[in-house]
Subunit: 469 residues, 2 copies
C-alpha cells in the first residue's frame, strides 16, 4: 500500500494498490471518502482525467470511469469539455452526522415525502405483541438465526402478502431484510455478480436508491414517467439487467402503472431475462379505488417483490421483506450471509404475532383512515387557499404532487421554509436534471396530528404567495 506524492497534493488520503485489478474501485472509494469527509471541499476542481491518470500511472479510462460513476452518484458534477468539480450539494453530510432527514431547528413543519407519521406507531400495541410473542417463543429462537429471517415471520408474511397484495410466493422464498434499502443493496450485489451492467430506474424517485445501485457498480438508465406511470422505453431497457419500479403508486408522482405497461414490463423481463424489482412501499394505502395488486403475480419468476414495515408501522423498526424468484433466493441469501446482517429476532417475532393475530391489518386500516383524512384536509385547504395549484397523485399513499401554475418551485420551497415548512420540489427527485414542470411533492404523513393543520395552512400561505404573482 503506497500513496504517490501527487495524490497527497490533492489532499486525498488514499491507499491504492496500483498493480491490482481494483484500481477503479479504490479510486472511487478514495474520492468518495475525500468528498464525504470534506477533505475535498464542494466546488473544488479535480485534475483532468488525463493528468490524474498520468500521475497514478493508470489508464485514462479508469479515471474517466471513476469520475463518471461519482457524477452518477452525485458526489461530483461535470460539464462536457469543461471539467469535473466536487458537487455543491452532497449526498451525505460531513460529521457531525445527523439522522437521515433530520431538519434544521427552524423548520418545524415537515411536509417532505417518504416517511409516515411517527405518532402513527402504536407503541402500546407493539409492546403488548412483543410480550406475548416473547413469552411464547421457544428458547432456540434467541440463538444464532436463520439467514433468511425467522421462519415464523416468513410464513406469516407469505400468507399476508398473498391475501393483501396478491403476491404469489412461499415462506421459502421470502427473505427478511433491514428495510427496502437493504433489500435493494442485496439485489444490486447479486445483479453485479451475475454480470449485469445497468439498472433501469424511474425518471423520478429517491436519490438514495439511485446512489445505492450505483455504489454497487451498476449504471443507471432512467425511464420516462408520465400519467400512466413509467414508460417501458427501449433505450433504457435495452440491455438492462433489472428495472426498479413503483407500480402501485409511483414515487413521487403518485400515478399507477397502466395495465398495458405492466404487461409490457413483464414481457420485457420474460423476453430479456431482466429482473423487475417491485418497490411496493405503500401499496397498502389506497383510498378511492380497489387496491392495485402486486405486479409480481404476473411473473413470480421474473419479479422481486419488496415490501416494508416502514410506512405501515415505523421506519425505525428497519424491517422489510423480499419475495424472490426461486432461482434468485440462494444468491440473495449468500449475499446476506456475506454481509453478516440479520434482523433482531425480537422484532421479527413481534411482527409475526401482529400479522397472525390480525393486529397488523387493524393497524393498517387505522393508518389508512388517518392518512385519508389528512389527504382530504390537504385537498380542501389547497382548493380554498391556493386554487391555481393542481393536486395529483392523490389516490393512494402518504404524499401528493402539487403542480404549480407558474413560477419556480425553488422559490416556493424557499418561501415555505420562511414559513417554517420543509417541503421539496419535484426536481429534488429527478434522475435527469431536465424537469420543466414546477411542482412540490407534499408528504402529508409526517407531521404529528396536532401540528398537521398548522403545517397545511403555512404551506397554503407560501403557495398563495406564488399564485398571486
Amino acid at each position: 500500500m503506497s500513496m504517490p506524492q501527487s495524490w497527497a497534493n490533492y489532499g486525498i488520503d488514499l491507499h491504492l494498490d496500483l498493480a491490482g485489478t481494483r484500481v477503479r474501485a479504490g479510486l472511487e472509494a478514495g474520492l468518495r471518502n475525500a468528498v464525504r469527509s470534506g477533505r475535498l471541499a464542494p466546488g473544488t476542481r479535480l485534475p483532468s482525467s488525463r493528468d490524474l491518470a498520468a500521475d497514478l500511472r493508470v489508464a485514462r479510462n479508469t479515471v474517466a470511469d471513476a469520475y463518471g460513476q461519482l457524477v452518477a452518484e452525485g458526489w461530483l458534477t461535470a460539464m462536457t469539455g469543461a471539467g469535473t468539480w466536487v458537487a455543491e450539494r452532497q449526498v451525505a453530510a460531513p460529521r457531525p452526522i445527523s439522522p437521515k432527514g433530520a431538519l434544521a431547528g427552524e423548520l418545524r413543519y415537515d411536509l417532505r415525502a417518504g416517511a409516515p407519521a411517527s405518532s402513527a406507531f402504536d407503541r402500546r400495541q407493539w409492546i403488548s405483541a412483543a410480550r406475548a410473542a416473547l413469552s411464547a417463543a421457544p428458547e432456540e429462537v434467541f440463538g444464532y438465526p436463520d439467514p433468511r429471517g425467522l421462519p415464523e415471520l416468513r410464513s406469516a408474511l407469505a400468507g399476508y402478502l398473498a391475501r393483501a397484495r396478491g403476491v404469489i410466493t412461499s415462506a421459502d422464498n421470502v427473505i427478511i431484510c433491514a428495510g427496502f434499502a437493504h433489500g435493494l443493496a442485496l439485489i444490486s450485489q447479486v445483479l453485479a455478480e451475475r454480470g449485469a451492467k445497468t439498472v433501469a430506474i424511474e425518471g423520478y424517485g429517491h436519490q438514495s436508491h439511485r446512489s445505492l445501485i450505483a455504489a454497487h457498480g451498476l449504471a443507471l438508465a432512467p425511464l420516462p414517467v408520465d400519467p400512466s406511470g413509467a414508460r417501458p422505453a427501449e433505450p433504457a431497457l435495452h440491455g438492462a439487467g433489472a428495472a426498479l419500479l413503483t407500480p402501485a403508486h409511483q414515487f413521487p408522482l403518485g400515478t399507477t402503472l397502466a395495465p398495458r405497461r405492466r404487461t409490457a414490463f413483464v414481457d420485457w423481463a420474460v423476453r430479456s431475462g431482466g429482473l423487475i424489482i417491485e418497490d411496493d412501499y405503500d401499496g397498502e394505502f389506497r383510498y378511492d379505488r380497489q387496491p392495485v395488486g402486486a405486479l409480481q403475480a404476473l411473473a413470480p419468476e421474473h419479479v422481486v417483490y419488496a415490501g416494508t414495515a416502514s410506512k405501515s408501522l415505523a421506519p425505525g423498526l428497519r424491517l422489510g421483506w423480499l419475495a424472490l424468484p426461486a432461482d434468485l433466493t440462494e444468491a440473495v441469501i449468500a449475499a446476506k450471509e456475506r454481509s453478516g446482517t440479520h434482523n433482531s429476532v425480537l422484532d421479527q417475532l413481534t411482527l409475526a404475532r401482529l400479522i397472525t393475530s390480525g393486529g397488523y391489518d387493524r393497524q393498517i386500516r387505522q393508518a389508512r383512515l388517518s392518512y385519508r383524512r389528512r389527504r382530504d384536509r390537504l385537498i380542501a385547504a389547497l382548493d380554498r387557499y391556493a386554487p391555481a395549484v393542481r393536486l395529483t397523485g392523490i389516490a393512494a399513499g402518504l404524499h401528493a404532487v402539487a403542480e404549480l401554475a407558474s413560477g419556480d418551485e425553488g422559490d416556493v420551497v424557499a418561501r415555505a421554509a420562511k414559513h417554517g415548512v420543509a417541503v421539496e420540489g419535484l426536481n429534488h427527485y429527478a434522475a435527469i436534471e431536465d424537469d420543466t414542470r414546477p411542482a412540490l411533492v407534499i408528504g402529508y404523513g409526517r407531521p404529528a396530528e396536532h401540528a398537521f393543520s398548522t403545517a397545511v395552512s403555512r404551506l397554503c400561505a407560501a403557495l398563495a404567495g406564488t399564485a398571486a404573482r
Copy 2:
C-alpha cells in the same frame, strides 16, 4: 449476459460477462452458488484451470485464482498436481436452510462452543426495559435512523466500554452493527477498498469469520497460536492490512494474549499502518483473575474494538458494536450506508436503557456466576470420570479445551454423538489442517440448566471410553 455452451455441460447456471473486469468475481460467485445449491455435488471433479480458461476464453490465472479463493473459503479442495474437487464438507448446507448451528434431532446435548445458554436471556427484564424505553422515547427515534446507530445507545456504550473494558472512545466513534459478523464484513469491505490484500488471522478460530473475510477478496495469513496466545509472526504479518485477534480469551484455545505480545502487535500496527481488529467476544466473562482490559486502549487509533450482546444477552438480538479509530469511522459509516443496514431502534433503545439503569451489568454478573458454576461442574466431572483429559482455557469465557491423552479426536466426537452429545474437535477450528494435538472444544454455555448435568455425564462417558483404550 450469455452462457457459453461448455458451462452448461458443467451444470453451472452462470451468467458471465466475459468482456468485463469482473470475470473472476463472477466466476467465483457462479461456482460458489453452484456448490451451495448442490448443482455441483460434493466430490465432483472440476475441469483443469487450463481447460476451463480455454472454454471461457479468459486467462488461465483468472480461473486458477478463482479456484484458489474457493479453496480458501472451503467450497473446493485441491491437491497440487492432482486437480480440484467440490469439497465434501461444505460451508453452508443446501436448502432447506436451517438456522446456523441447528442440530440433528438425535443430538440432544449441545456442547459446541460459540453460543451462550438461550435460557440465560432474561425475557422479562428485556420486555420491561423495552416498555420503559419505548414510553420515554421521543417520536423522532421511530423515523429513519442515524447510520451510526442510535445516539443514546452509542453514548451508553462509550461509557460502559470505558468502565468495563478500558476502551478509549467516544460516542462519535462507536458504530452499532448487527453482531460481530456484520462489523467484520464492514471492516473487510473498507480494508479491500483501501487496497489491503491480506488479513492475518489466528491459526484457530471461527471458519465463518475466515470465510467472511475471504468473501471480500482478502487473503488469509494464519498466525501460530501457543499458550501465550497468537504469535506476532513476521511471515503472516508482513504486508498484512489487518490482524484479527481475540486478545482477552483466544477462541477457541482459551489462552490470554501475553503482555509482551500485546505490545508487539501494537508496535506492528503503529509501524506498518496495519489495523488490529480486537474481537472481544466474551471479555466480560472472566472468573479467576482480574478482567483483562481491551488491547484497544494501547493504541486507539490503530485498533478496532468489537463487542457484542450475543454472549451477554442473546445472539438473536443481533446487536454488536465497533469502537473505531477516528480516521476509519467515516469509511465504515459509508460502507454501512451502502449496505442499507440498520439495527432496530427498539432494541437499541432497550439496550441503552439496560446499560444506563445498571440492568446490563447485573445481567452480566448473574450470567458470569452461572457460567462459572457450570465450568466448575465440568472440571469436577472430568477430574473424576476422565482424569486422563487435561482441561485448559478455563480462566474465562463459555468454553474450554479438553486435551486428549491419546487417540483421534474424530473418534471421540463420533462416540459423543452416539451418546447424544454434539461437540467439536479442535481441528474444526483450525485455519491450517496440520493440527496434531487431539482435543475437544467444549462449549458449556449452551445446554439449558436442567440438561447440563446429563450433557456433562454423557460427555464423560464418551471421554472415559477413550482414556480406557
